[in-house]
Symmetry: C2
Subunit: 361 residues, 2 copies
Amino acid sequence: MSKLEQTISFIKPVNPVFYEKAQSRLDNLTKPQGSLGRLEEFAARVVAINENIKPALNKKAIFTFAGDHGVAEEGVSAFPKEVTPQMVLNFLRGGAGINVLARHSGAEVVVVDIGVDYEFGNVKGLCHRKVIRGTTNIRKGPAMSMDEAIKCMEVGIELADEYAKKGYHIFGTGEMGIANTTPSSAIAAVFSKRTVEEVTGKGTGINDDTFKNKVRVIEDAIKINKPNQKDPLDVLAKLGGAEIAGIAGLILGAAANRIPVVIDGFISTAGALLAYELCHTVRDYMFAAHTSVERGHWIMLEKMDLKPILNLNMRLGEGTGAALGISLIEAGVKIYNEMATFGDAGVSERKDESEACPCRL
Amino acid sequence: MSKLEQTISFIKPVNPVFYEKAQSRLDNLTKPQGSLGRLEEFAARVVAINENIKPALNKKAIFTFAGDHGVAEEGVSAFPKEVTPQMVLNFLRGGAGINVLARHSGAEVVVVDIGVDYEFGNVKGLCHRKVIRGTTNIRKGPAMSMDEAIKCMEVGIELADEYAKKGYHIFGTGEMGIANTTPSSAIAAVFSKRTVEEVTGKGTGINDDTFKNKVRVIEDAIKINKPNQKDPLDVLAKLGGAEIAGIAGLILGAAANRIPVVIDGFISTAGALLAYELCHTVRDYMFAAHTSVERGHWIMLEKMDLKPILNLNMRLGEGTGAALGISLIEAGVKIYNEMATFGDAGVSERKDESEACPCRL
């Protein structure tokens, strides 16, 4: 059995008994039942995922996978391709959006070169896991070989295993790769059976002509490669990218290790959808950090029945949404762990406990 | 001139030049322009409010005003009236929802007895500013005298002045008061000209019969007191509460001191609406933390053209939403202060800078 198959075989549905245990504690805290809304949901989910009624979220890691895309040569992005390695170096110096927001949330950023078309040498702080030097142009053929696609997923799995062993409590996903909304839209179109136009947005900010070209490029990529919607690995290998595969692997690895994983924006959600198509049960372990302005994002979230935590019109990627989402999930877990119960605090309960609360979650 | 009049006279519209200065820095950070969405908006607003292009948000305070309501005797709440002082003591011990979330956001909680019907003695940590021992039952007459209403507002103003002098950078509002969604719905109905039913929700969790009774009680209170919609102080004195007045005063004081103020949920928003009716310019200084499940909340936010930051189905009050909102505003300010520019980081800019970004905020 391959590492990928083995990981999938380890993923089990979350035990509903733990939701009940968590909700029973939440209901006894000094607040009207259900009045902390989704914060309570986050806490109950973390308890159930960990199977631990005293959950901790102290050690947090956001994995920012970087990869290049041959399709960038089709003029689908507002930025030139060299920005991918430049931004990787910016991440390592701590000056990017993800660095700022991860610090704000107390999370570590793990920057992974999984497929950048640049030789970083021995640069310090980078997690060197390069599988390919960029995908090939998907308008002309498959992004990568099946073997490469599986290797990329296994990089994600290995990182999940490694950070689980190191005692991390929650993961976030992130990415960097000029042109990577293009393969993400292609993946979204294939799995959602929507038209390319319905799931394609303006990425980092392109004008109408470039947008029309992007839609055509994605339509061509699907026509030429004929990805088999029933075979997620075929879809991944044909449409790529390395970082999307790494994210999918990380999510599978998180679920196999019973660790909650917070999905960032559009590209991360394409990776999440790949993981979900391989194993629907991963849904139990995922949190959707936010809904970005990319049009296909909402469609993919709906397909997985994931309700985003935030809606702040963000469209940066890198893991920036995941960083903010992690902080709100942690807020929920702190409520669960730190609030006083009615008994502790000597606070009177509702007048009539037999009267079921209609606002109860 | 009274303290209230003087404070209102100090409130000036925010200078748009500072938005432009802030946006110009934001546009030069290593990210596509506008790609951090509302985080950028938060940063630009804080810069403009402070008139400071190097804003800090280190010192944060959430003011949780507590008051009782004579109308509780009409059976409008799921909880007995003694819960107000019990929860105040819970706040002082650090065991309530607001304590947990304020710690999470690095904010201090200032618990203010402005109108609780209980003698706290010299209990430590409480901010003793009691003006009344609860309002009178608004189904039978005015909540308080005009003099008391103004005194309550001035408590809020004085606290804003005091914490501005102490060097605090941002304020949040919060409250505790059994039955206080009832006066809040009454205030919302008067200013929005909606029916009572349209702006009334189920508070801490009441059943359908209690809800129908609550609507009747509010309708009666408006009929009997005949508040003058054009005179916000008349509305406040007749429908009350002390904590709602304190919140309105705090907001006016924040604006007069050029300090951003984050409005919590339904009851805080009733206070914000009173401040807004007294002086529309306060809007420039307010952030709406979230939209709660209370039906009238959204209607009041729309009236002030405030877009909530979060939507997490919360309905606890205390300042819990404000605590989470403050953390996201701080995230925006950190982006502004800490991210590298394209120049610093040696990252290439867009291919064609003359091509206006269609996704630009």
